[in-house]
């Protein structure tokens, strides 16, 4: 494993950890009834990225690099789906839904993180791809 690929994989880990922090932050900000710029920024970051990143992170072939577009796409789709479902079934509790989402996607991100760390020893696919970039550049 080269230094570059270590850095790349560490970058993915950092994104996942940052997403967990955002999920916790928005959950706390909402639960403590804050109304400030911090809540706004955390809420926007959560809605646009975190759920999608949790999915991408657990999708091994996607997790080899930060797939911003897919994270955004899945975030919008999943949050729209969940919000609409609660509306249809007559259980409209947006803040309660958010708490569930924060916990669910936070756990999913941690699972993805752990899986990727284990995968470095067992299934070196992600590392291999990170190294591919290195080898291509050094060959050139």
């Amino acid at each position: 494993m080269t230094e570059r690929s270590r850095t790349t994989v560490a970058g993915f880990d950092l994104i996942d950890v940052a997403c967990v922090v955002v999920a916790v932050a928005v959950g706390v900000a909402v639960a403590s009834h804050q109304h400030n710029a911090f809540r706004t920024v955390a809420a926007v970051a959560f809605s646009m990225f975190v759920p999608g990143r949790a999915i991408v992170s657990n999708w091994p072939s996607m997790a080899v690099r930060p797939q911003v577009a897919l994270s955004i796409l899945f975030s919008l789709a999943v949050l729209t789906l969940l919000a609409t479902l609660t509306l249809w079934v007559g259980y409209w509790r947006p803040l309660g839904l958010l708490e569930v989402e924060c916990v669910g996607f936070g756990v999913a991100l941690l699972v993805g993180l752990v899986r990727r760390r284990r995968g470095r020893q067992e299934v070196p696919g992600a590392v291999a791809h990170a190294e591919l970039a290195d080898s291509s550049e050094s060959d050139a």
Binding site: A43, F74, W92
Partner: protein
């Protein structure tokens, strides 16, 4: 680790998508952090900011915002286009620089309005706010109210988002929606275009052309805006993971049959200096299954999120499946089943309210543009309409040229052509409130921009000193037409904060009744109580007081008699609502004179039976209690 070992490992766990993304397209050399021409972008931002700071939008003329913007604003746009042209002409493209140029151009085109206007543009935007507020107020839907409550995805998401952000209403951020949705679309199109057989230069040019020519303003806070993002994502997933190497047998057969004709016009393919990374594909069955599930989920959301988008996506995907461009062609049948399955229970409502059955098959009637109703519109409105027509013709014309050029060069063309032109099948289905043509342009534009980029054939400096001018010149032309097309109607599209607040207060406090709006241009249905109010028009098309020659504004008895007669619920009050934006629309469209609404106000002030319910910030509401 050697590349061959990496390849073997890659095949097990990762699609070539990731490989293509990771492998650099150009040899790596030490790059300078800052080049002298980077100052162009900074200068452009400075000019633009200065222009935004200087603009006065208090009294817009009939030509809208473009006439009010100072020259330094346009200088900023021109400098950024020059900066883009320079970045695109480099031998080695810098995605960071091109991305920065694109972001700045999007900010300039779609961030200017929220900076210079205090309230969101477009009267029809406020209807969406009303539905969101209805959900927040009641916590459930009522599918009998309107079509929006039958396609609730966007509204449910926005209502949820409001609670999470902690705002009372989408009004708090609605004016920024255009910028936000365009940025989201940019990310999605960047992902999508990587799956298309274009050079890197063409991909970037296509992105710039898209954002420099999407004049139809689908990007306000609406279900359509989210639908565009989801649709682009669906195509991104499909074309990145489910593309086939080989086209359908009959397409190959047809191509072989047409070869003799092709030989007359086709020339040998010119070697291109850079082929972009092409079509990553799913590597294993489980990988492919995951992709299919992801596409199906996103499409499923699109089906209940927007009334039109899923059907256009279905048409385009089905066309791709028919020519064998995608694997798992049954996905088109699955999508059709999902879309029709959702639509079937709502058909009666849609048909009753929009006359769907009457418009099916009326291809040319459905294709009629909204400008056919311009009538006595002002010169400014006509100019904006002409600019939008020219811009559409420019893009479609360039796309046709690009298609021919690609075909003659032996480059993959059929799929792009089908994606660009298949949305016209929407014309067979309905007029979509006379907006079918706009939606066709919208859904064809990503692909049209790709073909247009192929027509322009962007080249580096090393290839042609003059040739590098083609891309920025065409982009400048598109942006020049974009301004009147996108901002040209702002004299009537802009609402003042007082107007918005006044109408909101009325909706929140008035007794249920019927609103007689002086013109169809006010923050309509802005409140969660919107379902308690019927609506009718006094003037303009379908107005009850339009009159044969002149609008009826001074005859109190005729006004009262007409309103009592047409009030659908005589047991409830009737309201006459007058706002500044109504007068602006009436003047722009030529059905009101500058003094008409002042005359109406004077008449109702003195008319027996009427009393003034609200009067502030130019908003006046008169109430006629039930008799």
């Amino acid at each position: 680790m050697k590349a061959s070992t990496v390849d073997a490992l890659a095949a097990e766990s990762t699609p070539p998508a990731a490989l293509a993304e990771l492998a650099p397209t150009t040899p790596s050399r030490a790059r300078r952090v800052f080049y002298p021409w980077d100052t162009l972008l900074l200068a452009g931002i400075a000019f633009w900011a200065l222009g935004v700071n200087q603009v006065n939008v208090t009294h817009l003329t009939q030509y809208g915002l473009p006439a009010a913007l100072p020259i330094v604003f346009y200088a900023g746009i021109a400098v950024v286009i020059a900066s883009f042209g320079w970045a695109l002409a480099q031998a080695r493209l810098s995605p960071i620089r091109l991305g920065a140029n694109l972001g700045v151009l999007i900010l300039m085109l779609y961030g200017t309005a929220p900076l210079v206007y205090a309230a969101p543009r477009y009267s029809w935007l406020y209807k969406y706010i009303g539905v969101v507020q209805y959900i927040n107020l009641h916590g459930h839907l009522n599918t009998k109210i309107d079509v929006y409550q039958n396609w609730p995805g966007f509204f449910a998401f926005t209502a949820w988002f409001d609670k999470i952000v902690g705002v009372q209403s989408p009004l708090a951020y609605a004016k920024w929606a255009q910028l936000a949705f365009e940025l989201l679309t940019a990310v999605m199109l960047h992902y999508l275009f990587r799956a298309l057989p274009l050079t890197e230069r063409e991909r970037w040019l296509a992105l710039f052309l898209y954002f420099g020519s999407i004049w139809i303003a689908q990007d306000y806070l609406s279900a359509q805006a989210l639908g565009v993002v989801l649709s682009a994502g669906i195509f991104g997933l499909t074309l990145n993971f489910l593309r086939r190497d080989v086209q359908a047998k009959y397409v190959v057969w047809l191509r072989n049959r047409l070869q003799p004709i092709g030989r007359f016009v086709r020339r040998a393919a010119n070697p291109t200096d850079e082929f972009g990374d092409l079509a990553p594909r799913a590597a294993s069955r489980s990988q492919e299954a995951a992709v299919l599930v992801a596409i199906a989920v996103v499409y499923g959301v699109l089906v209940f999120e927007h009334e039109l988008s899923p059907y256009v996506v279905l048409i385009q995907l089905a066309a791709l499946a028919i020519i064998g461009e995608v694997r798992r062609r049954w996905i088109a049948i699955l999508f059709a089943a999902v879309a029709i399955g959702y639509f079937a229970p709502h058909f009666a409502f849609v048909n009753k309210n929009f006359g769907l059955l009457k418009s099916i098959g009326n291809f040319f009637g459905n294709a009629a543009p909204p400008s056919t109703t311009l009538g006595n519109a002002s010169a400014g409105i006509r100019f904006a309409a002409e600019a939008s027509h020219l811009l559409s013709v420019l893009m479609w014309g360039l796309s046709a040229l690009g298609a021919i050029r690609r075909w003659r060069s032996g480059r993959p063309t059929l799929a792009l052509v089908i994606l660009a032109y298949s949305p016209v099948f929407v014309f067979f289905a309905g007029a979509y409130g006379q907006e079918a043509l706009l939606r066709v342009f919208l859904f064809s534009l990503p692909w049209t921009a790709c073909l247009a980029a192929s027509a322009i054939k962007p080249v580096p400096f090393s290839r042609s000193k003059l040739g590098v001018l083609r891309a920025p010149v065409v982009l400048a032309l598109a942006v020049a037409l974009f301004f009147p097309a996108f901002f040209g109607n702002d004299s009537s599209n802009v609402m003042t904060p007082g107007e918005v607040q006044g109408v909101l207060t009325f909706y929140q406090t008035a007794l249920p009744g019927t609103i007689y709006a002086a013109a169809d241009n006010f923050p309509e249905d802005i409140s969660g109580r919107y379902n308690l109010f019927g609506e009718a028009l006094l003037y303009g098309g379908g107005g009850v007081l339009t009159g044969n020659k002149k609008p009826v504004t001074s005859d109190a008895s005729q006004i009262t008699r007409t309103i009592r007669k047409t009030n659908p619920d005589p047991g409830e009050p009737a309201y006459v609502l007058i706002t500044p934006a109504m007068l602006q629309l009436g003047i722009a469209d030529g059905f009101l004179d500058a003094n008409d609404l002042a005359a109406l106000t004077k008449t109702l002030n003195n008319a027996p039976g009427w009393f003034r319910l609200y009067h502030a910030d130019g908003v006046t509401v008169f109430e006629l209690p039930p008799s």
